[in-house]
């Protein structure tokens, strides 16, 4: 482990820019911490934090100058790696024939600054889907291949975080080039740095740094250990997949459907949701056609439209499909949970629907039913 001082962040930015990386990371905009272009460390949300709960997010001033003292916001890195709208190809009429011009995805050189552990797990899930399956997504690959990741160990958990339940954080363990732990102790403001790749180690050489002392390493470990005790939410995962499969007809799905707006916000903000829809357009003359891909959501009726109509017309079937996919069928499909516990779907649901509370409601009703069953037997 190494140590860099707060001021050395500028050198990190310079070192990455010299390697032709485009720096992206957290910055304050319109009352939230979003992910956008970073020109210098001055663009980072210094001295800001957030308070989050179901359907609520507020920016709040911190009483220190921390640069990474908040949890994840409305954006996720998928907006860069798996962009919301992409043109796939264009076609031009050519007499009686036509020719197709496929888009050549440009090789991007992104450097993400401040990636959290839950987000690294989300990126790993997208790697599995877009790179390591029968078909490779060329758009994702062109944006992912050169990606440089500066991860951050969370110094505090948000009000809707539950990475501890999902074993996805808060300690950064995989998938980074450099990982920082931010420490503010009285006068000192510094980062303990871990290198994850040779590339990361090479970048570190360009930045003023020194070996961390045992005390500094301990202090860094204590930060993330404390964060782990602050989780805003808990999801009880024991036997979860079977619990959900047993309760496909549970009345709770009707209850949540009465609140769900089928607005799709939860899927849009979720860092693992990856569904898209493909649409073709023609111009007025019919000489030119284009195929576009856009983020889609299982909360629309068109999503399940097949010959003759939509398969999931009720809000009940759409919410159930979403939760079931995140927490159960995803495991069958990809070998991991589809939820990394980032809490975004809870915070950014306009009516505060909470995936952890929905699971709890079903689990508790089973316990209650079991207890009543026992009482009946005793009577």
């Amino acid at each position: 482990m190494h140590v860099i001082e707060r001021d050395a962040l500028t050198a990190l930015f310079v070192a990455l820019r010299q390697r032709a990386f485009r720096l992206l990371g957290p910055t304050v905009r319109d009352g939230a911490i979003v992910y956008d272009e970073l020109a210098s460390p001055a663009d980072l949300p210094q001295g800001w934090t957030d308070t989050q709960d179901g359907g609520t997010y507020r920016l709040v001033r911190r009483n220190d100058a921390a640069l990474f003292g908040y949890a994840v916001g409305p954006h996720s890195w998928k907006q860069f790696l798996h962009p919301p709208t992409v043109r796939l190809w264009q076609a031009q009429r050519d007499g009686q024939s036509f020719h197709i011009r496929a888009e050549q995805p440009e090789q991007a050189r992104f450097a993400f600054i401040g990636v959290r552990s839950c987000e690294l797990h989300a990126i790993a899930i997208h790697d599995r889907i877009f790179l390591h399956d029968a078909y490779v997504d060329p758009v994702y690959r062109a944006r992912r291949e050169n990606l440089f990741i500066v991860a951050v160990n969370c110094g505090q958990a948000g009000g809707t975080c539950f990475c501890v339940s999902m074993h996805t954080g808060p300690k950064v363990t995989q998938g980074f080039d450099l990982a920082l732990t931010e420490l503010l102790t009285g006068e000192r403001h510094y980062f303990v740095v871990e290198t994850g790749t040779a590339r990361g180690a090479e970048v570190l050489q360009d930045i003023p740094h020194r070996a961390a002392t045992a005390a500094e390493e301990e202090a860094a470990a204590a930060v993330v250990a404390r964060t782990a005790t602050q989780m805003g939410r808990t999801l009880h995962t024991a036997g979860l997949q079977e619990l959900l499969y047993r309760n496909i007809e549970h009345p709770r799905w009707d209850e949540v459907a009465s609140r769900c707006l089928t607005c799709g916000n939860c899927t849009m903000v979720c860092p693992t949701c990856f569904c898209t829809t493909v649409t073709d357009t023609t111009d007025l003359t019919g000489a030119h056609a284009e195929r576009w891909r856009q983020w889609d959501s299982c909360f629309t009726t068109d999503f399940s439209y097949i010959h003759g109509g939509s398969v999931r017309t009720s809000a009940r079937s759409r919410y159930r499909h979403w939760l079931m996919h995140k927490l159960a069928t995803w495991i069958d499909q990809f070998g991991t949970s589809g939820c990394v516990g980032c809490g975004r779907c809870i915070t950014w649901c306009p009516v505060a629907i909470d995936i952890t509370a929905e699971v709890d409601a079903i689990r508790t009703s089973e316990h209650r039913a079991a207890a009543e069953g026992k009482n009946d037997a005793n009577a």
């Binding site: 009352g31 939230a32 009465s258 609140r259 607005c263 849009m268 007025l284 068109d302």
Partner: protein
């Protein structure tokens, strides 16, 4: 594919502000192309030359508010192969449907010196309540890209790509910070039909519902949350009674809250 003859397009106006027709004129770059693809046979807003029907595509703007218009829309339907209604007036009755919640005779007495000469209907109603409509394009005003899409789709015999999902989907795709979650500003986006590109939240405003109810709108849940945010019933009534006040889902929701005191 070379066509035998150019399809004939007509644009009709009923009770409305002309804003939606102007969206067609606003397609400056594409207007010449449109004129090359269709025979603009009836469009009083743009030209005085009138071609007799029948018409292949009729775009209808405006709502039905007078006995005369109720007759005229029947003629338009008979003269049209495809009839597409454009805008909140034609699809939902428009802002003038606010009269539907009041006694129209009282308004007449207030506005006109000799109300006896005015022949008007008690309600402002959407075109689809009078004749069969082939496609409804929502918005107040409509989005000109969507209008071009509908015309292109018609010309090439395909389904128009006009998604009926929420404004939130467009809002999130453009990366806007949700005004309801981050600022506590009431927003109709979750129950409103997409199409505008989520303009208002991008300027820190809640959605006004210009495109009317989306597919499966859960207005009751949204209102319940607004109450939780401290929005009084009178404001909820006003929010739902905008340009699409008489659209079924918005009308019902406003009536629930109109019965409650602040």
């Amino acid at each position: 594919m070379p066509r035998q003859r150019k399809p004939k397009l007509a644009v009709w106006k009923f009770a409305s502000c002309d804003g939606c027709q102007l969206s067609l004129l606003d397609c400056e770059d594409e207007l010449l192309t449109i004129a090359g693809q269709v025979d603009i046979a009836y469009f009083l807003e743009a030209s005085r030359a009138v071609v007799k029907g029948p018409y292949d595509l009729s775009l209808v703007e405006g709502s039905i508010t007078t006995p005369h218009d109720a007759e005229r829309i029947q003629q338009v339907r008979r003269a049209s192969r495809f009839l597409v209604t454009i805008g909140a007036c034609a699809t939902a009755g428009g802002i003038q449907a606010l009269r539907n919640f009041q006694d129209v005779q009282e308004f007449l007495a207030l506005v006109y010196a000799k109300p006896a000469y005015i022949r008007t209907l008690a309600h402002s109603t959407p075109i689809a309540q009078h004749v069969r409509v082939d496609f409804e394009l929502h918005g107040c005003p409509i989005n000109k890209r969507q209008l071009l899409e509908v015309i292109s789709a018609f010309l090439h015999g395909r389904k128009p790509h006009i998604p009926p999902h929420s404004v939130c989907m467009e809002c999130k795709r453009r990366g806007t910070v949700c005004v309801m979650v981050a600022h506590g500003t009431p927003c109709l986006g979750p129950v409103t039909h997409a199409g505008c590109g989520a303009i208002c939240p991008a300027y820190q405003r809640g959605c006004y519902g210009c495109f009317g109810p989306k597919e499966t709108p859960n207005t009751a849940s949204l209102s319940a949350w607004w109450r939780h945010l401290g929005i009084p019933p009178s404001r909820i009534v006003r929010a739902f009674r905008g340009f699409n006040a008489y659209a079924e889902a918005f009308r019902q929701e406003s009536e629930v809250h109109a019965k409650q005191n602040d």
